[in-house]
Symmetry: C2
């Protein structure tokens, strides 16, 4: 049986991530959430707040993946240009969403401040809203592209609302086990296991902590039977190498 | 005077980052280090351990940017395929580096373990070594592509050694100031400042902490005079909006 595979690309928009000033945490959160819905993040791109770059990246991503999730650049200031870029990528004009505008107007402000805030009510024509449970302006969806805020708490709130709109595929589950072993000590056995279980993705992730080298073996796949089979073999491999397998979680 | 701009792309290779299991921290470190050497990270891509994807991404990146830095996939196990992918991207065979092999052989191991470990001595023909001050196998450079480990401590050690090999451009410096203000309250003034200082990149980064919304304004550019000019204007803008500018650091 072949897996039903549904893919996604995450596009992280923002100079502050590329300069190293801000540590991105959105990718890991989006990947974990989408995985629960049966969607696999196959690529992520971090790009600057530059119009041409954003347009090209979004058009490339929406052609190559089932879904695209963008973060960043939808606030009220001059460097927030994601909305116009998405509109340009789709070749549609921007329109004002009455629903977002209403929400923005609920919080009173001087006229010039309100005017800036209302920039956030613009969406590409044909887009539908992505709710924002924090009470701020909504994000939006156009075709297979979801456009969300960059602030992690706001992005997470928005993402939490779109599960029902998304058609996921088979859900990838994982098992993992850790041992204080160098990767080389078990590399041959792991390669052999991987060959016999092509439906399971067996990854080996070395680490260095408390002045010891160790390896975490992660198995990912859609079949619980295959995952259990691989896990047992990996544990036996670790024991045969003279170490104790430590189950994660 | 036009800036001498030298660009880089960071290519992060690894399923564990895309699944959300591992939080990447390499991008922020590389970006900060390269910035000190006058190199601007213009894009980052996170891609899976898949041969065709890696080859295409590396060839795309090395054509579009002055330098490319990859992390991940150079260990001894079956899922470490970065070296063969880089060789394929450049259309050259893999060769064994005697220098890496010697270093690997210094640590004794049973024959089969040593055989696996020696996988890490393979480099693309024509590559030169990137030293690894942790004592482990070296990384390598081929043309404008630097290939480094994925473990942050090892990657950082490798990266620290390549500064002398890199020709940087004008160094981007930054100033930043924070205020408990909504972005909308100062958006118009910021846009005006940005228009008058086209050589400075003025970014506005909203946040939410201690139950208050605030904004950090970050100025980035190569001219200290321009940066100071923008900083003073931004501070005046914050004061005019009734708040106190808080200098960062």
């Amino acid at each position: 049986m072949t897996d039903r595979i549904v893919t996604a690309c995450v596009v992280i928009i923002g100079n502050e991530i590329l300069s190293g000033r801000t540590q991105d945490t959105n990718l890991a959160h989006i990947a974990q959430q989408l995985n629960e819905w049966g969607i696999r993040v196959q690529e992520a791109r971090v790009i600057p707040d530059e119009e041409d770059v954003i347009v090209v990246a979004v058009n490339d991503a929406r052609a190559r993946f089932d879904y695209v999730f963008t973060t960043g650049g939808i606030g009220p200031t001059h460097d927030d240009i994601t909305v116009e870029c998405i509109a340009r990528a789709f070749g549609v004009p921007m329109v004002v969403s009455d629903e977002i505008a209403q929400r923005i107007r609920r919080r009173p402000a001087p006229r010039d401040v309100m005017e800036n805030r209302l920039r956030m009510a613009r969406i590409p024509e044909g887009a539908t809203l992505v709710d924002n449970p924090t009470g701020g302006p909504q994000g939006f969806r156009i075709d297979n592209v979801f456009v969300m805020a960059g602030i992690p708490s706001v992005m997470q709130a928005m993402l939490s609302t779109v599960g029902g709109e998304i058609e996921g595929g088979d859900i990838v589950r994982s098992r993992s086990v850790t041992a204080y072993l160098g990767e080389s000590q078990i590399a041959a056995a792991l390669a052999d296991i991987q060959t016999r279980y092509p439906n399971v993705d067996l990854g080996s992730y070395p680490f260095y902590r408390s002045e010891r080298y160790g390896t975490t073996l992660v198995m990912r796949g859609t079949s619980d039977t295959d995952l259990s089979g691989v896990l047992e073999e990996v544990k036996s491999t670790i024991i045969a190498a003279g170490e104790q397998p430590m189950m994660d979680e």
